[in-house]
């Protein structure tokens, strides 16, 4: 039950897709990531991820890497709340009998949302888990990024929600949610490469 509560179906978020379609021409002329020589290029990455079945619930441990661009860092420092989304899909490989022949069945779509805020009074950074409401305070942004990158024991899916047949696997990615930015920033964030921070899909089998 606890697991079910934590599973949140992702909302239909068609607007980024619409934006990408509308602005596809503009994207061609937008500048690439402005990374200085020797500096780590901005971007999100998933280094490792694994699941463990504990008491009938699959728990996720993942090591994530978040390298923010200068633009996003400047926004955070100026008190703009930035939302990071960890998107997870539990999929079942398509079978001849119980699935359609074209794509794999989606068993669960989970979205963990974290918001990074600043606290000017104490000069600290606050990481708020928007799913659970839990907050964590960090003295620096680096500490916050480290803390965010260590995802431990995230409840993924109840074992009973999966059938006995078929092979299951997980897909996961992290991204900066542009739609959560203040509205005046959104058009340019969609058009600007430093704001389009997103990891590749990371995929691994669900060990049962």
């Amino acid at each position: 039950m606890h697991c079910l509560e934590s599973v949140e179906r992702i909302r239909v978020r068609a607007w980024p897709a619409v934006w990408l379609a509308v602005c596809s021409l503009l994207l061609v002329v937008t500048e690439p990531s402005t990374s200085a020589p020797g500096k780590i290029e901005a971007g999100f990455d998933i280094r490792s991820a694994r699941t463990e079945l504990v008491d009938g619930v699959y728990l996720l441990d993942a090591d994530l890497s978040f390298v923010f661009s200068d633009e996003s860092l400047e926004a955070i420092e100026n008190g703009i709340p930035v939302t990071i989304v960890v998107e997870m899909l539990v999929l079942r490989e398509r079978g001849l009998i119980w699935d359609n022949l074209w794509w794999d069945a989606e068993i669960a779509h989970i979205e963990a949302r974290f918001r990074i805020e600043t606290r000017p009074l104490s000069n600290t950074y606050l990481l708020r888990n928007l799913n659970s409401g839990e907050t964590r305070v960090f003295a620096s942004l680096e500490e916050l990024v480290d803390g965010l990158g260590r995802l431990r024991g995230f409840p993924l899916i109840d074992e009973h929600l999966m059938g006995n047949e078929g092979h299951y696997y997980l897909r996961m990615r992290t991204l900066l949610d542009i739609e959560s930015l203040p509205s005046p920033m959104r058009p340019w964030a969609y058009l600007s490469a430093p704001w389009r921070l997103k990891s590749d899909w990371y995929e691994w089998p669900l060990e049962r």
Binding site: V18, N78, G79, P120, L121, T135, A139, R186, Y190
Partner: protein, 738 residues
């Protein structure tokens, strides 16, 4: 029908108005979202996308309108250039004020946003934040010192008393939670103000790292729902009894009033910083919204310009097309009347005009039909007339003619329409006398009605035409040409003449012949009775006198027989006659006789056989030779030249026989009447020789006339038509009738 209604709906103003309204609503929502409205904030991107798509659709619509307009201008469609001018005027009139408003709105907007930010407010907020930090800092330092004292107390405390000691000290310190944590992070003891709290709050790894670095940690953290707390973490001094390092974490609640104020300061400061950071994006965003509004207004105005221009030009286009249709002769064009304004009045006037034109055209058509019927009627009448009718226009060109005219003149006059008399004469030489007569009349001024007899020698022989003519006047009285009416009176004239002269001859012969026989008998009786009784001298005289009487009576008998011959007009025996041979035979007879006359002949070998009565031809030639001999100068041997000639012209073939003497010639006043029976230049003879010649020539359909030669003497010229085979029977019967 449904498709047309659908098309009308989509090309009408409705869908565009709906689109523009939707875009306006969307822009209002977007504007609200830009200003921080939570309700529209989530829809901001959608609004922006919808607006962008809507504007692209509008731009596409305008582009299509522009493309169609330019294509119509290129094709030279009526009204296209006017549409361009109207669109240009509308666009300039609508776009200019919008651009001016846009410029000033933009300026005003940027200044308004800039006015939100003030250095003094910013400094005040910084100071407020600093003041809060300072106030909290003093308190936090006190709490740190107190916590370190507590930590010192716990160092030597036996393990079994630690829980109680911790609780006592927490109560004394007014803390909400005290937690003693071991080296590996396990909780040794904990005391909380909340009895339901099972799991104490743990310091984060970052705090532990800072603790290791500086020995203490003090921070202001929100603890769950309990509000702001001061977190103090200190390490316990090491002692001999406990070898493991321990840390003490104390959580002190911040006073509610202090917490609220600090929160307010922090939130306001944060909002201000956020706003300051969003200053440029906000400007850009407002500019974007304003630009979208501008573009929407512009596009809507431009589209409205196209729509209005199209609506205004449409009746003019219809008028233009209608005018072209009328110019092409389509008077049934009616334009749809769409409005009550001046253009509508113009359209109504156009429709009225086309109605009147159609009516006038119908009436003209009817009157043309009537004229045509009249013309056909006249043509039918004229074609049935046996009288030839010609009309000449003002320039003397053949204008119309009827069938009888062509038949009489033996010329297909229909082919000669539009030609002058000279041109017709060149192609048809036998019409020359007619041309001369007509030209004399046509060119004469002041002659309106005239009548004249014209003699032609046509393909079928001599024709006597009785022509009469008059001038034609147009409706306005102006000269419009001539009309010439003519009848072929050849047969009539000939018959009348023949009848008259036959009657004269017959009566003359009768009256003269009756006394001749008694005279002759009396003379012979005198001779028989008294010749032997008289003396020789007297008898000689009587013999001479009675012989003279008898001879003269014989001569008179011969003359009377000649009259009888003229009047009798026996049946002609037509056969093919070789004219040259006939001439040669006759001349040979004269040469063989006692005559000293020199008769020369020039005979044309091409002369074809002539269908004629050879006896009569011989009589003609005999008469002419005799005449020529009699006309010769006395004392000189007579000289006669006889020529035959074949005349082959396009419209006629003739055989000409010329008999020339070398005598005194004809008196000038007698040249034309020489062939009349009562006319003679001689003291002897009946005077009928040339009259008989003319009679026989005319019986053969020919003509005869006499001319004086310049070198002296006179020539009698006869022309006989060579009748073609197909008209042979007709001409034969014609002559028989004569």
């Amino acid at each position: 029908m449904a498709a047309r209604a659908l098309k009308r709906f989509f090309t009408g103003v409705g869908p565009i108005l709906v689109l523009v309204l939707l875009l306006l609503v969307s822009l209002v929502m977007m504007s609200n979202a830009t200003q921080g409205s939570a309700r529209f904030g989530q829809l901001y991107s959608a609004m922006l996308a919808i607006n962008a798509l809507g504007l692209i659709a509008l731009a596409g619509l305008i582009g299509w309108n522009l493309f169609s307009l330019l294509r119509r201008v290129g094709a030279g469609e009526p009204g296209a250039r006017l549409t361009v001018r109207m669109v240009a005027v509308f666009v300039i009139l609508s776009v200019t004020p919008v651009l001016v408003v846009y410029y000033f709105s933009l300026q005003f907007l940027h200044r308004s946003i800039d006015s939100w930010f003030d250095v003094r407010i910013e400094r005040a907020l910084d100071d407020a934040l600093e003041l809060s930090r300072t106030a909290l800092g003093v308190r936090m330092r006190e709490l740190l010192a107190h916590t370190e004292v507590v930590a010192g107390d716990l160092v030597d405390m036996p393990a079994e008393q630690i829980a109680v000691g911790l609780d006592d000290r927490r109560r004394l310190a007014g803390a909400s939670e005290f937690t003693l944590i071991g080296a590996n992070g396990h909780i040794i003891a904990s005391s909380s103000i909340d009895p339901t709290a099972i799991v104490p709050n743990r310091p984060s790894d970052a705090i532990l790292v800072q603790l290791r670095q500086s020995g203490t940690y003090i921070g202001l953290d929100p603890i769950g729902d309990a509000g702001m707390h001061v977190r103090v973490v200190v390490g316990l001094p090491e002692n001999v009894a406990t070898t493991e390092p321990r840390i003490l974490q104390a959580l002190y609640p911040v006073a509610e009033r202090t917490s609220t104020l600090a929160d307010t300061v922090q939130t306001t400061y944060g909002k201000y910083r956020e706003l300051a950071y969003l200053r440029k994006p906000l400007k850009t965003s407002f500019t974007l919204t304003l630009s979208l509004v501008l573009l929407l207004s512009l596009f809507a105005a431009v589209w409205a310009a196209f729509y209005s221009a199209r609506r205004m030009v449409a009746p003019l286009q219809n008028l233009s097309q209608g005018t072209r249709a009328v110019a092409d002769g389509d008077y049934e064009t009616r334009l749809p009347s769409s409005s009550e304004d001046e253009v509508g009045f113009l359209v109504e006037s156009f429709n009225d005009m086309t109605r009147r034109l159609a009516k006038a055209r119908d009436e003209t058509r009817l009157s043309q039909q009537q004229v045509e019927d009249q013309r056909r009627y006249l043509e039918a009448v004229l074609s049935q007339l046996s009288t030839g009718v010609l009309t000449l226009d003002e320039g003397g060109r053949l204008f119309t003619c009827n069938r009888a005219a062509s038949q009489i003149l033996r010329v297909e006059l229909g082919d000669e329409a539009g030609k002058t008399l000279d041109e017709i004469d060149e192609r048809h030489a036998h019409l020359h006398p007619l041309k001369q007569a007509l030209q004399a009349r046509v060119s004469a001024e002041g002659v309106e009605d005239w009548r004249e007899e014209v003699i032609l020698l046509g393909p079928t022989g001599r024709q006597v035409l009785m022509c009469s003519g008059t001038t034609l006047s147009a409706s306005d009285g102006a000269f419009a040409g001539h009309v010439i009416v003519f009848d072929d009176v050849t047969d009539l004239v000939q018959a009348q003449r023949n009848a008259a002269w036959s009657e004269v001859a017959r009566r003359l012969a009768h009256e003269i012949k009756n006394p001749l026989t008694p005279i002759q008998l009396s003379a012979e009786r005198l001779r028989h009775k008294y010749l032997g009784k008289m003396q020789s001298e007297d008898s000689n005289a009587l013999d001479r006198l009675t012989r003279t009487i008898v001879q003269q009576v014989e001569a008179m008998k011969t003359m009377v027989n000649a009259f009888t011959d003229y009047a009798r007009a026996p049946q002609m025996q037509l056969r093919n006659v070789d004219v040259n041979e006939l001439v040669a035979d006759l001349v040979e007879l004269y040469r063989a006789g006692e005559s000293e006359a020199v008769i020369e002949t020039h005979l044309d070998g091409d002369v074809p056989p002539l269908e004629a009565d050879p006896d009569r031809l011989r009589q003609i030639l005999h008469n002419l030779i005799k005449n020529a001999l009699e006309a010769s100068e006395p004392g000189n041997p007579a000289r006669i030249l006889i020529e035959t000639r074949y005349i082959n012209e396009p419209s006629r073939e003739m055989v000409e026989i010329r008999t020339r003497d070398f005598g005194r010639g004809l008196p000038a006043h007698m040249a034309e009447d020489i062939f009349s029976p009562q006319v003679t230049t001689k003291t002897r003879g009946s005077g009928l020789g040339l009259a008989i010649v003319k009679k026989i020539v005319e019986e053969h359909g020919g003509v005869v006339w006499a001319e004086n030669e310049a070198q002296g003497g006179a020539t009698v010229i006869m022309r006989f038509p060579v009748v073609v085979a197909e008209s042979e029977s007709a001409s034969t019967s014609h002559r028989h009738a004569i």
